[in-house]
């Protein structure tokens, strides 16, 4: 990639790159395939770092991973409801991040879980918090000569997490809104929480104010509704073919409340 710079493009699953090339939106001179880098396909628990997901793991690899099923079933569920089965067989976790589509499904939950990504170039490697990775629609801090190699979810105190893609059909739907939450419960008090929203801003966003509303107060339905309203206010969606701004904001309210309730009572689901 050092050699080709902007003239080259990394090819992993190809579900995004190839369809953009077909539409004439992308015309790289060189495609650099990562297909044979088997080491980038693994999903494992590293005692020192946490759960590591290789960038080339497909969505179905995530859904079927025993490590994830044990630690973060929520991530398996998220992957399982992405796109359709054909795409899940080819599309990769790394691709879902580097393409930086605002409605992508993996970023919100990974952000909620505090994940970071490793970017590697001939000059070395660096770690970037996923939360700081996205800069705009289809824009990230990754340089043209860098390759995203892995996603790391550091060990944490979260007792529950979940994600809901609100789509307009049951398969092959892009998110109208995506809501991810991770909670650290102690009795009926929420000691820590992260709420990440997709498809309601140019990049996935955290609902910081909503998080503060929830922290260290006894959880009630009324409180969760208040958190939902707050999150809706923090979102800044556009009106497009999938939904109006007004509808999207209200869906943030509904699903923030519902997802919090789910993660609080059911754990990582």
């Amino acid at each position: 990639m050092d050699q080709f710079g902007a003239r080259g493009k990394v090819l992993a699953g190809g579900t995004d790159v190839l369809s953009m090339m077909k539409q004439g939106l992308l015309a790289p001179e060189v495609l650099v395939s990562l297909k044979n880098l088997a080491e980038l396909k693994q999903i494992y628990a590293d005692p020192a770092r946490g759960v590591v997901i290789g960038a080339l793991a497909t969505h179905n690899d995530l859904a079927d991973s025993p490590v994830l099923q044990e630690r973060y079933l929520s991530l398996c569920q998220t992957a399982h409801h992405m796109a359709n089965n054909q795409v899940r067989n080819t599309g990769t976790a790394g691709g879902n991040l580097v393409n930086a589509v605002p409605s992508a499904d993996l970023p919100p939950l990974l952000i909620a879980l505090g994940a970071a990504v490793t970017l590697v170039s001939t000059g070395g490697s660096r770690t970037v918090k996923l939360e700081e990775f996205f800069t705009g629609p289809r824009m990230t801090v990754k340089k043209d000569n860098e390759i995203l190699t892995e996603i790391v979810i550091p060990d944490n105190s979260f007792t529950g997490s979940t994600y809901h893609k609100f789509g307009l059909r049951r398969s092959g739907a892009l998110a109208v809104v995506g809501v991810a939450v991770a909670v650290a419960m102690e009795g009926d008090l929420c000691r820590d929480v992260r709420i990440a929203l997709g498809a309601v801003a140019p990049t996935p966003i955290r609902a910081f104010k909503a998080e503060e509303v929830l922290k260290n107060r006894p959880v009630t339905d009324q409180l969760l509704e208040e958190v939902g309203r707050c999150a809706a206010g923090e979102s800044n969606p556009i009106s497009d073919i999938r939904g109006s701004k007004e509808y999207r904001q209200d869906m943030i309210r509904v699903f923030t409340r519902r997802m919090l309730k789910k993660a609080i009572s059911e754990g990582h689901v």
Binding site: G24, L168, G172, L174, I241, R242, Y247, V254
Partner: protein
Amino acid sequence: MSDNYAVIGKNLPKIDGRVKVTGQAKYTGDLKFPNMLVGKILTSPHAHARILSIDTAEAEKLPGVKAVITHEDVPGLKYGISPARWDENIFCIDKVRFVGDKVAAVAAIDEETVYKALKLIKVEYEVLPAVMDPIEAMREGAPQIHDEYPGNINTEVHQSFGDVEQAFAEAYHVRTDQFIGQRTYQSPIEPHSAISIWEGGKLTVYTSTQSPHYFQYYIAREFGLKMGDVRVIKTYVGGGFGGKLEPTGLEFAGAVLSRITGRPVKMFYDRHEMFAHNRGRHKQIMKVTTGVDKNGKILGVHADFIMDGGAYTSLGIATAYYAGAMLPLTYEFDNYKFDMLRVYTNLPACGAQRGHGAPQPRYAFECHLDMVAGDLGMDPMELRLRNARQPNTVTPNAFQVNSCELKACIEKGVEISGWKDKRGKLPPGRGIGGAVGSFVSGAGYPIYRTNLPHAAAIIKVHEDGTAATLYTGATDIGQGSDTILCQMAAEAMGYNYENMKIVSADTETTPHDFGAYASRQTLMSGAAVKQAGEEVKAQLLEIAAEMMDVAAEDLDCREAWIYRKANPDERKPFTEVAREFFVRRGPLVGRGSYTPPKLGGTFKGAPVGTSPAYSFCTQISEVEIDEETGEVDVKEVWDVHDCGKVINPALLHGQVHGALYMGMGESIWEEVVFDDKGKIVNGNLGEYRLPTALDMPKITSELVDSVEPAAPWGVKEVGEGATIPTMGCFANAIYDAMGVRIHSLPLSYEKVWRALKDKRKKEEKK
């Protein structure tokens, strides 16, 4: 009539099932010919613009480009599928009328070169004001889309039967409601494609079509060729649903490119181009008024509609008439008025989509009747039962209805869905709704005026009797006509289905048939096939009579055995007699043709909607609504059909499932959306949301006993009729669940959410 059939009425495997599931079936896009070129059409980026100049010089210079053509290289004769309004040119001459209008075409050695060449064609446009809305298009001072049609009125219908005003004056209750439909697209899984080969004076076109005959007719007319010098061959087709009935432009452009280059030219649309070419469902704005007496008996109906036709006529004249003509089929009333304006807009042309003009008006009417029933405090299915059409009646618009078991359909639907225990009684968020429908079993008149029979068939028995080939112009586009026509041929001949072969939809080798539209082939092509089979059988029995030394009338033939009726053990195999026939008399051939009787009234537009027979059905659906998000979860659907004698039950239920799938999509998810410049926003399968397998509910498809006297073996249609009630039944179910009425299609989650929000606001005010 004995119901003891040997071949029909059975779930025999589809004749093309194996080649399709194994991938051996070749669709037009799969075919390759030596030296074949690839062609593409350049289309307009503007919704409405004058063409000032077209410069093809740069494109022609590109290595690999073999021909570039514009309107100057093709006949200027206007065409269209509706003879009353031929308003399309192969390529635009003076101006373009929608984003996607056809301007030029290129043939080159490969696809990549073609795309490069298209970019090198320079077209200078003077952009004109455009109009995307039919109401706006009719206003004074609106942009004129065709000079010949002032006010952008493409078609105007005013029909009146009985005295509607009088009926309303005498009615106990009169109610008016307005509903709006949406533009949808057929979205066949196989994109349109055509391979044209013009050699010497003969043009051969392999194509993905619903009607080789209409293609042949219009291609010959456009190029001044004799019909006999145009051969149209249908390959396997991956769905049509009305969108592949008329020439697409690919055949015309491909033919000229082939003539110029002397090479075969393959042309195709990609998914976005399919949406732009369109010919999908019209958007209709529908005002319905009904007057009823105290008991809910319908006294009169006024349907007042406007439809957005897009930039050209396509099949839209028929669509405009169908929209109103089909409403009185299901209920008996004498006073009916129908007004319709089909309006040109700067959007892709609309045409015939499954149910042709009827599903949206049916949605409006069935919602409206539920509201009327609500006003009267009646169960809506009870209101339908009280008005349901009886057999052997005539509609106010002069359609003769023979068999009709609509009442039985409603009763059975109510019973199997558990209607009485559910309607108004389900837990919050859950609801049940019903609607009925009816459709033609083939159009009484062809699209252009001709006295040709509507269908014809030839059966040739192999010389040793071990096979028989059915030659028919009938067009299998996936619905299974090849299968059921072979079943019918075998039944009529007294033969086995397993030994049947079929050659269909090739204008040079098969006899004439109008093709797959208006749900016509089971009845019409079937009638021709039955006659051909019976002619084979009669000839065989004559020879067998000589061989067995008995009278021919004492013999019969069944499952490939010819036997004495008085003593079935006295018998000879079909093969032996067929072979002997060939030895003594030459080829054993049977022929058949079908022309419907003269149907309908004499008023303007009377032929549209006539048919030898009509199907009837009831659909009931149960839905669950998320009261916070508006999400519609379809739990279960029940369909009860009166479709006459069934030839292949598995294929029939497959049609019901498929029609429901499409109807569900149009009800809740699908809509073609444009930006303010007339560009399609969602011309892809990602954002044009067809339902997926995961969205499909549990479906119960049931039948009621019915035999149609005007049809071979009593058959009727099913393929389109099952789409008719669907939108209405979902709208009514949503109302039962949540008490909100959605007045426009699709019944999207956001619309339901908004309606619920508005309802809560109103309740809070109280």
